[in-house]
Structures are given as C-alpha cells and as structure tokens.
Symmetry: C2
Subunit: 134 residues, 2 copies
C-alpha cells in the first residue's frame, strides 16, 4: 500500500519526560502542558477559544508499531486483546487522541489542562470535539 | 521537524466514489460501508464486537494539505476560520475521525453503518470510543 508522510505541526511541552511514569489516562494525574505550534500554522489556529474543549491528535513516537495484541493496561491477568479494541499506544499507526481543555492561547503557544502526552511528542492535528451528530 | 510515515492497515469499500457527492457528516445520508483490512492485521481485530461502536481513523488522501483556513462547510457567508477549529478535510495532516457502528465482522472485512468516507480511503487505526473518562 502507498505510504503517507505526516508533517508534525508542533510538539508538546510537558513536565512528563518518562513513559514509565506517565499516567495512562488524563484523569490519572496528567499535568497541564503546552502545545507549541510552528509559526507557519498560526492562521490555522484562528477560532480556537480559551475555555473550550477540543481534540488533539499526536504521534506517539515512542510506541512499538509491530505490536498487534496486548494485555489491556499491561495487566497480564487480562486476556490478550487486539490493539484495535484497546487504547494501547503500541499499534501500527500510533496516533494519540486526547480531549483537551484550552486554558489560554497566545500566538503559537496553547496552554491545556491534564494532558497525558510526553514532553516532545509531535502534534498532528487539532479538531473540534466529536459528537454523535457532527 | 522529523517526518513520520503512516502504514495504512486497509481501505474503505463504499458506494461513495465522488467527493462532490459525499455527505459532510455521517447523519447526512452516508451509506453503510466495508472496512477491508490487510490479513496481517487480523490479530489486532480480536476484541471488536458486532453491535458495538468504535472510532475509525482514516487518511483523507484527496484533501489539500496546504489549506490553513476555510469558510465552514464551504459557506462563503461564514467567516474564514482556522482549520484546527473546523472539521474541514483540508488540513496539514488530513486524518479523518469517524464514529462507526459495527454491523458485522468476518475475518478482515468489517461492515459498518453510515460512513462518510470515500471508496478507497486508506484506514489508519480503529480505537474504542473516546469518553471524557478514559
């Protein structure tokens, strides 16, 4: 199949430096963080509002892309499950999907609440919140 | 910045052949469709259940990646808005995010309800439904 090349639009700036210490989910102690976008994408940010929620897509660059099945949450007592039925970062295309709350946005730096992505994680996209109707 | 290469895991099989005729959202007349995965990813599907919902990530390969602002829904009476505040397919990394309902799954072919993706669209990932808590 054809391969497609991603162009990261920026990166995450966070106190989370280490995968072993990272929370698995944002409600498990993830810190506030900054999204640092490349200046060329400033026009694409127009319309993002402090106080609102959005979806953030990242590239989990430390993931193992050859993993096809995992024990959910690393718990070996749980049966092996296909990665497409789990939120394991290890998967063929390790795209991270995060709900963010925008605290402030000044130029290319966006301050967000409770992000479980590691420092330096490439940012791919920001989208409005997904609902059943849109 | 470093570039990262996607490896499509399969493609969409749909009666929707033409972008101009495609609905913008799944509740605007999108047909049922098939997700056709490469055989090598069969182990990663283990755990997907007919009757359940999931998230589908696609690569919108007909999108314009240089577009940074659009009139939402192509309506020129609406103000130009940064693509990160819209669901425009035209954006730097045109990753499509779709909520799917799995009608049936037999081997590498997954039948889904109401998918607004065009025939041939590369599939990147399938994930459990995103909720605020996970």
């Amino acid at each position: 199949m054809t391969e497609h090349v991603l162009r990261p639009i920026g990166h995450v700036e966070s106190a989370l430096k280490d995968q072993a210490a990272a929370p698995r989910q944002p409600d498990e102690g993830a810190p506030d963080a900054w999204l640092v976008l490349d200046d060329q994408y400033l026009p694409a940010l127009d319309g993002l509002t402090p106080g609102s929620d959005a979806l953030l897509l990242t590239w989990l660059d430390r993931a193992d892309r050859d993993t096809l099945a995992v024990h959910p949450r690393g718990d070996s007592t749980r049966p092996l499950t296909g990665v497409f039925a789990t939120r394991s970062p290890d998967r063929p295309n390790p795209i991270g999907l995060h709900t963010i709350h925008i605290l402030s946005a000044a130029g290319p730096r966006i301050h967000v609440r409770n992000l479980e992505a590691l420092d330096g994680t490439p940012i791919l996209d920001i989208k409005p919140i997904l609902t059943r109707d849109r």
